[in-house]
Amino acid sequence: MENEQNYSEDIKTIKKIMEESSRFLSLSGLSGLFAGLIAVLGGCIAQFVILKSGSHGISGLISRITGEQLASQKLWLFADAATVLVLALIVSLYFSLRKAKLRMQKVWTPVSKRMLLNLSIPLISGAFFILIFFLQNQWQFIIPSMLVFYGLALIGAGKFTYSEVFYLGLAELLTGFLSAVFQEYSLFFWIFGFGFLHLGYGLFMYRKYEG
């Protein structure tokens, strides 16, 4: 009887070690939740403050009207996007480091490195494309590129962390395509993709694994 107890313990240990050594499980749902919140705020500032203050809205940017007012709008949009990115990265990192600490797990492991590598290749490619579009004034491609490249990055990283990340990536990808089709509403798709999808994902993950 004692042996049988050991056998099922053995199986549990095997499964736990297999999972922990091949998937990075310190990503916190709270990271997604707060990153989503920041994105919703940043997106609303872009839509209702920066674009509303001008006379053209997003269609003005897309139709490549030039002018001094537009130039300052672009700069503000750039600053807004950069702020959202930096803040989202900081909160994501903070909550994941905190979760790793609570679980007494190391953060810098072979599998977390592999996850970051697979995440960063599409992300950095996307960043270059977006920079080129920004410099060429091709605004209609910027929002779709953000969503599509981010979606591809998550799909790649999903193999090395929670499998839900893969599905979040698919949803981002789809949102990206829609934002390219419905250009007039592309900012709303951006708010949905980076904001509400993250919020929903973060809440779901937090309740499933951490609650």
């Binding site: 042996n3 056998y7 240990t13 095997i14 050594s21 091949s22 492991t109 072979p110 599998v111």
Partner: protein
């Protein structure tokens, strides 16, 4: 029952060995220090079990230099993967019979 237990591989009776095989069965290769961290064992303990598994042709050792530092990594052999798979199956069969 007895036949199932005899299917268990004596080489995997030890927890540390079981841990090593679990890691290597889902990773292409894993180095010594990361194995140590993952399994939470001492250098000497880990080294002796790795040696035993290597001698039985269950794992393979790859020594290389990363910059100037020597780095020893391990990967599972085909023989090791198949024996470990059989061992897990035997464990699962025993549990299912209870």
């Amino acid at each position: 029952m007895k036949s199932n237990i005899s299917r268990l591989n004596k080489l995997f009776e030890n927890r540390v060995r079981l841990g090593i095989m679990s890691v290597l069965s889902v990773n292409d290769s894993y180095d010594f220090n990361n194995l140590k961290d993952t399994l939470g064992v001492t250098d000497g303990n880990l080294a002796s079990h790795l040696k035993a598994l290597e001698e039985n042709n269950l794992i393979r050792v790859n020594k290389q230099f990363i910059g100037r530092k020597p780095n020893t990594s391990y990967s599972i052999t085909e023989n090791g993967a198949s024996l470990f798979h059989d061992h897990i199956k035997a464990l699962e069969d025993i549990i299912r019979r209870q």
